[in-house]
Symmetry: C2
Subunit: 293 residues, 2 copies
């Protein structure tokens, strides 16, 4: 990259549609819908529109954990949003999430239907609605919030930075790979040092902060993102490894990973989920999730 | 960049200390403290350790807004963390924020002192503690949370992506500049379309979501970040412009921007803030903040 032809940015940036590597077709400099299409609505109060990327898995893991706890009001319909076909730019999806990213949630149990977007906001909304997977001691709430927001502000360096340049960009360039690999390793080390002190990120209890962080850094540590396990030496983060494996073994986590899955072994895909019985015909092994753009 | 020498990543990434452009000295692949040093503690219950970057300004704006509302319990000491000198790697700072990023807060008014890190978590913690700058109608809370988390997940593409490659990287490369300029413009358009519908991001009321988003996208629209106003054609986002100027005119926002400011015109810098009277000897005009690494 240091040998590249010198580049002088123009005075005003212009959209060149042909660039962008894998996922180029879904990256745009403008917001808003590209076509008119309503979203489907199923029988349950909670309607999730998503895909089993790490950000999607956070929410389906929480919903399955809530149901496993016996909270029946957390029953939900999960509809597949195929981002490579532009489903996130439909008028229906944009009305639920003007940012055109999965996951997005509609709660029809409120006086007027409530939209929630951004995976971190959805986790906090559902955990507060059902009073679960938050610290039981309110004094621990700030620590949980700190780690939940840490995940939201950190993962773009892992996904949109490292993952993009290591796995998806049209060529391999050293500078951005170095920049984002270094930051990703620092983040893994932040987490490893924390998990050396406490079994879960906000203390003794498994909370939504663990679910958020596990979906990205736990799955990265388990070698499931970007085929980058060896490159980032994920095995060296011993406390992250232990925590990641423990969470991975939870039945609700296994179910959550299957929902809205549209890639990998077909037997691991539950493309839509409308009932707890929908899992029965599926095996839950050998899930190999892809990353994000 | 397409003419660069082909690059094949090694099997396992290694730290090459000499690379990284501006801010290279503060980017590391490992976490934890580099030296032993305690943090100072002043007279107020709230102790802020920060710098007037966009993430720092979010919190000082909220604190000044709380004080302007007559909430005296929000009095605070603000200590300067000089990130280019590595203050964020002191043992004291790491004990408050294991992620070694500003801002970080200690609340000494609780039974045991409470740490809070990540600017979004600090905003939510303080707003909930004082019951202010949240939607007065609880039904609007999910919308506020969605936009607050939107800012946290979006700004890394603006700061760590666009800002880095446009302003700070050792060379200008077209691909990453295009990638992150496109995403930054999309984010500005998301915000512009929202502000065409409602005066503030979560509805009729000015909340912490506006403060969070204003610090990044408002200041970007006002031409204060990365000297990129013309390049990104920020003037074309008319609703963002109107909202940004309105918030910029608030006296508490002007004060918040001065706190922990260690760059630009010396008369706009209040490097430490320990009392409301500390502003009196300072002028509040012509602030020209820098961006982040």
């Amino acid at each position: 990259m240091t040998d590249a032809t010198p580049y002088t940015p123009p005075k005003v940036w212009k959209w060149e549609k042909e660039s962008g590597g894998r996922f180029a077709s879904i990256n745009r400099p403008i917001a808003g819908p590209t076509h008119d299409k309503d979203l489907p609505v199923g029988k349950h109060p909670l309607q999730l529109y998503s895909l089993a990327t790490p950000n999607g898995v956070k929410v389906t893991v929480l919903l399955e954990e809530l149901l496993a706890k016996g909270i029946k009001e957390a029953e939900y319909d999960a509809w597949l949003v195929n981002i490579s076909e532009g489903d996130q730019f439909s008028s229906g999806f944009v009305s639920v999430n003007p940012n055109s990213k999965i996951p997005a949630l509609m709660d029809h149990s409120t006086a007027t239907p409530t939209r929630v977007f951004e995976s971190g906001a959805i986790l906090l909304y559902l955990a507060e609605k059902f009073g679960a997977f938050l610290p039981s001691d309110p004094a621990k709430r700030p620590e949980m919030l700190s780690w939940l927001f840490w995940q939201m502000g950190s993962a773009p360096y892992l996904g949109g930075g490292f993952g993009h340049f290591y796995a998806y960009a049209p060529e391999k360039w050293q500078y951005p790979i170095d920049r984002f690999a270094m930051e990703t390793k620092r983040q893994l080390d932040v987490l490893d040092r924390r998990l050396a002190e406490t079994p879960y990120v906000s203390g003794d209890e498994y909370t939504i902060a663990d679910m958020a962080i596990w979906a990205w850094y736990g799955q990265l540590a388990l070698g499931r993102l970007y085929e980058a396990g060896e490159f980032l030496d994920v095995e060296s983060y011993k406390y992250v490894q232990k925590w990641a494996r423990e969470i991975d073994a939870r039945p609700a986590v296994k179910r959550g990973r299957m929902v809205n899955r549209a890639f990998g072994d077909p037997s691991t895909q539950l493309r839509e989920r409308h009932d707890a019985g929908d899992f029965e015909t599926r095996t839950q092994d050998k899930l190999e999730p892809a990353g994000e753009s």
